[in-house]
Structure formats: structure tokens, C-alpha cells
């Protein structure tokens, strides 16, 4: 009798909870006003308050068989950390996240959740999915700001040494995982700062650099050694790393070589690759010139070629550097744009002008070699190509000219050839990407593993991290055998 009653009560409670849950809407993200934010480089989304986070976390129905985890490349225990937030245990939530994701503050900001966990959240079928990314960001920020960062247990030293080449998300992840397993890990980074694209590519207003620095510091606390200013392939080769006593080498060198379109006038002054434009602004802090020494052209009419995240980051940077007209020039339509919807939306809010179905064919310079005009063709969509997207075809006699003084070419990246060229026996595919045998990230060279953009071509932070995680397991096995 009593037992039955208890069940009944529990049932009623659950019903009440469900009712309550259904009345809560997905919590919006507070953001900086579009008019104000184009005049600064501060972060655009401001983050949830505690109340908002708890309210949002309570929307999660804690599925018995959560689909969302399957959508996450690093298998974060999503219902688990959300439950902790709902209970008000924010630090606990952060710790739960860090069990599988060593960069939650980064992922909470830059992951395309709408294509991953949130895409398959059951709530999304009828209404709006749980805001997993925003909650992730909240928990990670809470922990960092509380200054109460716990360092997990490190296994006893195995006496084995691993060299990680490249300090991007792939390299940072594998370093964290391997150091926890008791291996001695050294990261060699070509630039003077660790972080890869997180420090040189993604702008401050989307990912504040102090967050990346905190994540890197955390790794150092775990015992990871980071040696900057070291280009592997130049200062030392992969083979020399083995000679120095490293038992395994992981290549996480990214897809860091810009693609140009090879059209006339592309080398005129004022024309940048997105990599250069963003590196100047982010890594070298040219937006704070002359406080920082590196300059950047502050164009009035800036055209950014491309429709991906990199193009959105570039065009929004141009606005913040004072552009009067900032254009996105993209040869297909908004539907085919590879950029995240949120980024396109933010760009639109800030006043970016979208010139779609448009393709540049030539740049025209002034007498001093500065770009002053861009000749374009209008396009229409034809038959689908290999990627399944409809191929843009030029419309006859549709040529027109735009006034521009700065152009940023953001049409993709290729693999950087330094490592393959200096590592005999390392196989690459026809695009120069390092080929791996299977999920384990093992390359054609024994003891050499690779992951992230250098294998997949430019992809996402979380996929690079996922590869780092898998390679960590494989290297651990390899070193034990």
C-alpha cells in the first residue's frame, strides 16, 4: 500500500515536472547590440546567467537512451552535465564535461551544435532543442571564472615520451589525454603562441583569446611541455624527433596553406588571404595597432570572397576595422553557404552586404599597385556537382565592376607541405593531406599518427579534437606494446 503510494507520488511529481518543462522556452542568448558591437572586438554573445542556465537545463528530459551523445564527436555525457547544471552544481557540470572534452569553453562557443548534438535532440522534433552549446559554455565559464579549477589525477609516469607537432585543437587534445595516462608529452608549435586556428584564425569577438590561454595553461598545469617557435621539418625533422628519444609522434599541423583563385591582379596590394588578414588581426593584434606593431589595411570598401565561417569571420573583422561597405561575394546562394547559420545571421545584423551568385574574375589596380576595382560575373545555379550542391555557372555578358580597396580571399585552404616533404615514407593523398589507415589515426610511418585538418582538410574544432582523442588511445596502446 505504502509502496504503491510512493510510486503514485513520484508519477505525479514527474507529471508536474513535465508540465513545468513544457512551459519553459529555449533560453535566448543575450548579445551585444549590433550597432555597438561593430565598433569593438568584444565577444558578441554574452553568456547565460545562472538563472537562465538552470531554466534551460531543466528543459532537458534526460532521455534514457540519449541520442545527443551520438551526435558529439567526443561523446560528451550531455544529459549528465546538463542535469548537474539543473541541480545548481555548476563546477560539477564543468568537471563532467572535462572528462571527455578538454576544451569546453572553446567548444561551447565555436562548435556547430545545430549540426551535431542539438540536431538530434528529441525536443527538436516538436519544438526547439536544448541549447547544449550555450550550457556547455556556461559551465566552462563558471568554472574558469570561479578560479576553482581542479586538476585530474595523473597516472604514474610510464617513462615514455610523445612528441606532438602543432598546438591546435587536435594537438592540445591528444597532449591532455596522453599526459593523464602518464606519458611525457612535448608539443612543438611553429608560431610563437599555442592554439592553432583558435589563436590565429577565429576572431576575439567569437572566441576571446584569454579563454584559449586559460585552456593552454590548464594543459601546462597537467605537465604538458609546449615549445613554441619550432617548425618541425625545418628546425628538426620527424625522424630527428625519434632520434631524440620520442617513442611516438602525432602530427596535428592543420590545413594551414591558403588557396588563391589565380585570377589576374590577385597579388595587388590590398589583397589578402583570409589566413593573413585574420592572423594579422588576431594573433598579431593588428586591430590594436599602433599599440601593437603589426599593421593591417583598414579598408573602406572591403570585399570578402567566399561563403564559409572563415569568410564570415573576415568580413565581420573588416567592419570592426572601420569598413563603410563590407561585402560577402559568394558564387552560390545563401542555401549553399557552408557557414554556420548563426554567423551569417550575425553578419547580416551587423550590416554586411551579401552579393550572392557573384564571382570575381579580375582585380584592377591603380598606378601604385593598389587594388581599386574588382571585375565580377553574375552566376546562376546549374546541375549538382560531386558535392551535391548545384554548380554555379556564369551568366553570359553579366560582367560588372565594383569599387574595392581591400579584398580578402577566403575560398579554402590546402595542406601545408613542410612535414610531408621532410618525412620520407609519409603518404599523402592527391590534395596533400596525410593519409591514415583507420580510426586509429596511424599513418604509413610506424609510430607516426596524424589527425585534425591535416588529415581531413579544413573541418571543425571538435572533429580535430575527436581525432586527437582517438589517436591518444592508439598511441597509448602502441607505446605499451
Amino acid at each position: 500500500m505504502r509502496k504503491e503510494n510512493r510510486w503514485k507520488d513520484a508519477g505525479a511529481e514527474e507529471m508536474k515536472d513535465k508540465k513545468e518543462r513544457e512551459t519553459i522556452h529555449r533560453q535566448g542568448m543575450p548579445e551585444q547590440d549590433p550597432k555597438l558591437r561593430t565598433r569593438n572586438f568584444d565577444e558578441v554573445p554574452l553568456g547565460y546567467t545562472e538563472e537562465m542556465a538552470v531554466a534551460e537545463a531543466k528543459r532537458c528530459i534526460q532521455c534514457k537512451k540519449p541520442l545527443c551523445i551520438g551526435g558529439c564527436p567526443v561523446d560528451v555525457d550531455i544529459p549528465g552535465f546538463i542535469k548537474l547544471i539543473a541541480e545548481g552544481n555548476f563546477s560539477g557540470a564543468a568537471r563532467r564535461l572535462k572528462e571527455t572534452n578538454c576544451l569546453p569553453a572553446v567548444c561551447g562557443r565555436v562548435c556547430p551544435q545545430e549540426d551535431q548534438c542539438e540536431k538530434i535532440c528529441i525536443l527538436g522534433r516538436k519544438g526547439e532543442p536544448v541549447a547544449v552549446g550555450r550550457l556547455e559554455r556556461f559551465a566552462a565559464d563558471y568554472e574558469r571564472e570561479s578560479g576553482n579549477i581542479t586538476v585530474p589525477e595523473i597516472a604514474r609516469s610510464t617513462g615514455k615520451k610523445v612528441a606532438v607537432v602543432g598546438a591546435g585543437p587536435a594537438g592540445l587534445t591528444i597532449a591532455g589525454d596522453l599526459v593523464k595516462l602518464g606519458h611525457e608529452v612535448t608539443i612543438f608549435e611553429a608560431l610563437h603562441k599555442a592554439g592553432g586556428v583558435l589563436v590565429y584564425g577565429i576572431p576575439e569577438f567569437r572566441l576571446p583569446k584569454k579563454i584559449v590561454e586559460a585552456e593552454v595553461d590548464y594543459l601546462k598545469k597537467l605537465g604538458v611541455k609546449i615549445i613554441t617557435n619550432t617548425v618541425i621539418g625545418r628546425l628538426k625533422t620527424v625522424d630527428e624527433l625519434f632520434e631524440e628519444g620520442f617513442g611516438a609522434v602525432f602530427l596535428g599541423v592543420g590545413a594551414g596553406a591558403p588557396v588563391f583563385m589565380h585570377i589576374p591582379g590577385e597579388n595587388l596590394s590590398g589583397i589578402y588571404s583570409a589566413n593573413e588578414y585574420l592572423t594579422r588581426s588576431n594573433l598579431m593584434k593588428a586591430y590594436r595597432f599602433p599599440e601593437y606593431d603589426t599593421p593591417i589595411v583598414r579598408g573602406k570598401n572591403v570585399a570578402v570572397i567566399g561563403g564559409g565561417n572563415v569568410a564570415m569571420d573576415s568580413v565581420r573583422t573588416a567592419l570592426r576595422l572601420g569598413a563603410e561597405n563590407a561585402y560577402i561575394i559568394y558564387r552560390r546562394t545563401e542555401v549553399e553557404m557552408p557557414a554556420r547559420i548563426e554567423e551569417v545571421h550575425h553578419a547580416g545584423q551587423e550590416g554586411v552586404q551579401f552579393k550572392l551568385l557573384t564571382n570575381p574574375v579580375e582585380y584592377i589596380g591603380d598606378k601604385d599597385g593598389w587594388v581599386k576595382e574588382m571585375k565580377c560575373l553574375r552566376m546562376e545555379l546549374g546541375e549538382p556537382d560531386e558535392s551535391g550542391r548545384r554548380r554555379p555557372v556564369p551568366i553570359k555578358d553579366s560582367e560588372f565592376v565594383m569599387d574595392v580597396d581591400t579584398v580578402v580571399v577566403a575560398v579554402g585552404t590546402m595542406a601545408n607541405p613542410i612535414i610531408p616533404a621532410t618525412t620520407p615514407g609519409l603518404e599523402t593523398n592527391r590534395w596533400g593531406h596525410v593519409t591514415v589507415k583507420d580510426e586509429n589515426c596511424e599513418t604509413s610511418r610506424r609510430g607516426v599518427y596524424a589527425g585534425g585538418d591535416i588529415v581531413t582538410g579544413s573541418a571543425t574544432v571538435i572533429l580535430a579534437m575527436g581525432a586527437g582523442r582517438k589517436a591518444a588511445r592508439a598511441i597509448d596502446e602502441y607505446l605499451k606494446s
Partner: protein
Amino acid sequence: MRNAAVFFHFTFFILKFNIYINKFLCALCELCSERLRGDFALNKITEKFYLSENVVRMVLEAPEIAKKRKAGQFVVIMTDEKGERIPLTIADSDVEKGTITIIFQIVGKTTTCLAALNAGDNISGVQGPLGNPTEIDNFGTVVCVGGGVGVGVVYPIAVSLRKAGNRVVSIIGARNRDLLILKDEMKNTSDELIVTTDDGSYGFHGFVSGALQDMIDSDEKIDRIFAIGPVPMMQAICDVTRPYKIKTIVSLNPIMVDATGMCGACRVSVKGETKFACVDGPEFDGHEVDFNLLASRLRMYLNEERESMERCRCGRDER
């Protein structure tokens, strides 16, 4: 904000302290101290002196680079956290002492600040060796032409060419006698040295290209020429050698950022194709280089450089 700064200085201090202790404990283990530097990779200046009024020779601690570098390669230097990344050719190295030598002309903010530092000071980072080494072989008779600070760049190449068994004739020039650098060093590494000054205050009165033309006119057989200096000088040398089809190698100095092939700031046009000087160069066949493009891209930040200089507080020290 202030707390962060205090914290930063504190950790920095601890780190530095650690480096010293550890250096002391295992002075022999270079790898170790190298490691400990972590993100705070500092390089100490061990020597500095002025080769001329505005050209400085500086020796830096960089043991691994010293071991690895070859003629024709360069380093990227950052003087401090807020500084620019600038490429400078490695003029010399000493493996035993673990040092490299750079020679630079004071032209802008970064070089002014670098020149204001002294032996014992640290700079925030040296990355290298970068770029492809010079193709060294026994070509026969080679002519090494250096103009202005370019003499510092051509010097290590002349040394290597001599070692490889070439007959090395060097032609070095400057605007006037006081601006000539490395005259004795070049003399020691060459079978023959010709010195020119634009104003005739020393040696041959005229340009290096004129001296080279004279040499060609004297029917001396030349197998290869290496010409390094200001863009107009390299262009003039290439104009002299083109009709005779003498292979002329030039070393290009475009603006760079990462110097690892990641950004394309350094793009140059060679034989109508776009190349990245930092990874495909810095040396190219001069007859195929578009020098006008190089010159105009080098002017891209003139206004900003001026602005930077006006703000610059690094006074020129006495020498």
C-alpha cells in the same frame, strides 16, 4: 585586470627563476632548458655592434638553430610580445657557442627597437631556420654581388660557395664609404673583391651593376651570379646578366607574417606564377622575378610604418 597582470608577472618570475635553477642544475642538457622556456621562449643577445651608422650586427643565443641552419636561410624575430614578426637572414653561426649572427639595417620601428637592445638583453622569440638553403655546388667561377645591408646576406653564401671549391669573385657596394659593411670578411672569403661606392668615396665609382658589366665585358667566364640587396639593385644586376644568359640567383625580402607558408603575405611572382617566398624561396632565378610587383608590395604599409615610428620611444643609443 590588474590582478591578472600581477599574476602574470608572478608566474613569469617563477618561470624565469626556474629556468636559472635548472640551467644551473643541468647546464649540459640543452634540451632541458630549451624545454623549460615553454611559451616564454626568450633568446639572449650576446653581442651587438654597429657595422655602419645604421647597420647592426647582433649575436643571439639560439643553439638549435645554430646547429641546423644553412647558408641562405633566415629567422623570424619578435622583439617583444607586442612586436611584429620580421624575417632576418642568418649571417653566421657558431655551433659551439650556440649562437647565430644577424645583420640588419635600421629602417622601421622593429629594427629601431631591436637596435636599442644590448648584450645581455632578451628578445621574445626567434623562429627558424626558415626558407630553403642556397643551392651550393662547385659551379666554377661565381660572382657574389651585395648591395647595402645585402652584403650581410650574401656573405654566408660566399663562404659556402668558397668551401664547395668555387672561384669566388665578390662585388660589394654602398652609397658611400661609411656605409660599406663586412669589407674585410668578404675579402677573406673571396678570391677577388671589388668594392664600389655610388659617390666614389671608396673603390670603383658607380654601382655594383656597372662593376659587373665591366667584368663581363672583360670576357671573364662566369658560371653563376648571386645578387642580393635593394630591389632596384637586384633588378639592375638581372638586366645586366639577362642578355648573356648567366644564371642569376636573387634572394627576395617581401613582407612576411608567419613565414611557414600559412598566410601568403610573402607572395611573389616568378615566371608568371605566384610563389610564397618563405617556403618556395627566398632565393629565385632573378630573370623570372617580377621586381615591380615585389617593390609595390613592399610599399604596402608605408603610412603605418611612419605612424609606428612617430610613436616609437626606442631612442638610438650611442655606439
